[in-house]
């Protein structure tokens, strides 16, 4: 701010200071960092999907022909195969977990439930033609820890569970998701909340603390951004997950946008149309990096710890870091940020001592 405001007469207030703020304001109106994170990433070169055709124009008849072939392949060949696989995967999951849930608690039950989860998730990932590269498998999250990752879409869950079982945290849904949730909780303990309970942060923290205290329970999977971002950046991590204690295992997930856009724009598409879009893309290709575990250091509060983890994930995944809250796409920004700007400015004009 100092650079932008320096004027003719040193650093006292001038009439021209209004220019700086109005220019910043209008720049934000033309393009701001947050809004662009909630639309799909723009591609450098077209990948023959209409949905990513934002800036490209008609080039030649040959390209149109290739595109038509692509459409035929995707919709008439790949889509039916994928839908069938998805069907098989989900039914197996529901049936399998219900059956395993009948067994009494024992290590056999845990092993079977792991088997069921892994197999069905792998089938579901194949249903999306997912190709996943796992890096640093030695750092895979252990029992009794909390796994933290950047959030792009509900498919993140599938991608992580193909390589290991996690206890999930989330709201209870209705419909198809609800059936799956109820089935899964029979086989191994997930933490599903009612919508009303989620508002009570202490209740949530208490339940999560109980879960990780039990070292035999699976690591909890949490997405601290709280909302889906378009995989070009990492937004503010909410501090709630970092107050629970325990070891945090960060995981970075980066999708390759050339094969298919995995971002779920929940205000634009509902779940079913999103899945259809996924199944009619070329493939879902992504990289998953497991990172060494982190714990909160002495004298570090939850917010600083959250930021540290966020930076680590951003650097690993090659994403940019933003201090903004992902919830901004729905709610207004807090006044504390405006006060900070006001403070900076006042220090400049009034901090020069008493005026004559």
């Amino acid at each position: 701010m100092e650079k932008g405001l320096s004027g003719l007469r040193g650093r006292d207030f001038e009439l021209s200071d209004v220019f700086y703020f109005s220019k910043k304001g209008l720049e934000a109106i033309v393009e701001d960092e947050v809004t662009q994170r909630f639309s799909s990433e723009e591609l450098v070169s077209w990948n023959l999907l209409t949905r990513t055709n934002v800036n490209f124009q008609y080039i030649s008849a040959r390209l149109t022909l290739v595109w038509v072939l692509g459409v035929l392949v995707r919709y008439c060949v790949l889509l039916p195969l994928r839908v069938t696989l998805a069907f098989i995967g989900i039914s197996l999951l529901v049936i399998g977990t219900t059956l395993v849930g009948q067994l009494p608690d024992s290590s056999l039950k845990n092993r079977l439930s792991e088997l069921v989860h892994l197999t069905c998730c792998r089938i579901c990932v194949r249903a999306l033609s997912g190709t996943i590269h796992y890096h640093n498998k030695q750092h895979r999250p252990q029992k009794g820890g909390i796994c933290v990752a950047n959030h792009t879409s509900p498919i993140d869950v599938l991608i992580l569970t193909t390589d290991g079982c996690y206890a999930m945290v989330g709201q209870v849904h209705g419909g198809l998701m609800g059936i799956i949730q109820r089935a899964m909780v029979k086989a191994c303990p997930h933490v599903w909340f009612e919508r009303s309970e989620m508002k009570d942060r202490h209740l949530v923290t208490k339940r999560l603390k109980e879960h990780i205290a039990d070292k035999k329970k699976l690591p909890i999977l949490i997405f601290p951004e709280g909302t889906c971002i378009n995989n070009t950046s990492v937004m503010m991590f909410k501090k709630g997950s970092f107050e629970i204690g325990g070891t945090i295992h960060p995981v970075a997930i980066k999708y390759n946008p050339q094969f298919g856009d995995a971002f779920w724009n929940s205000s634009k598409y509902n779940m079913v149309s999103y899945l259809l879009r996924m199944m009619t893309s070329w493939a879902i290709v992504c990289d998953v990096w497991y990172m060494p575990p982190m714990t909160r250091e002495e004298g570090e509060d939850a917010v600083q710890f959250a930021n540290r983890v966020k930076s680590a994930i951003a650097i690993q995944g090659g994403l940019t870091e933003l201090p903004w809250d992902g919830g901004l796409k729905r709610a207004k920004v807090k006044d504390t940020f405006k006060e900070e700007q006001q403070k900076n400015y006042s220090k400049m004009i009034a901090g020069n001592g008493p005026l004559s």
Binding site: D12, S16, V18, T35, Y58, T64, Y345, A350
Partner: protein, 196 residues
Amino acid sequence: MGSRSSHAAVIPDVDTIRRETGFSQASLLRLHHRFRALDRDKKGYLSRMDLQQIGALAVNPLGDCIIDSFFPSRSQRLDFSGFVRVLAHFRPVEEESPGIRDPKQPEPLNSRMNKLRFAFQLYDLDGDGLISRQEMLQVLRLMVGVQVTEEQLESIADRTVQEADEDGDGAVSFLEFTKSLEKMNIEQKMSIRILK
């Protein structure tokens, strides 16, 4: 796919807007794209709420004043031409010599005069053509929040009005405003480079 018709056809009155604002076709398309992105409920116009949702604007101390400048005369709807007209004030000035310009044509929106008029209007809250000491105080208060005491703020406002006020009426008119800023490089300070 490829043979989509030119987007410009989607923008209403695109030729009039181009003439008045001087934006290039590409810039207009980009701004139209942005307009539609900000219009989350697809109403076809923007409301105050749509602009307030921009994080970087909401934390700007003058954010509300800037939003008001888009909505003149109590209207609650901002259509695309209104949106672009305000943004045109911040278009960078071209390097052409003033002699070539046709004097009969209205001054381009991004001329020095019009940029200054825009800034003046941010201070002049009641629109009477004069910045009174009270209005100066109000705008200052917006920029500093609660961080500065009333006395300090009053002395800053008094000093500023005194320095700019030439005819001694206790308020700053537009001419006095322009005179006090004549040495300032307005063209550069009030231009957003990406808006060509």
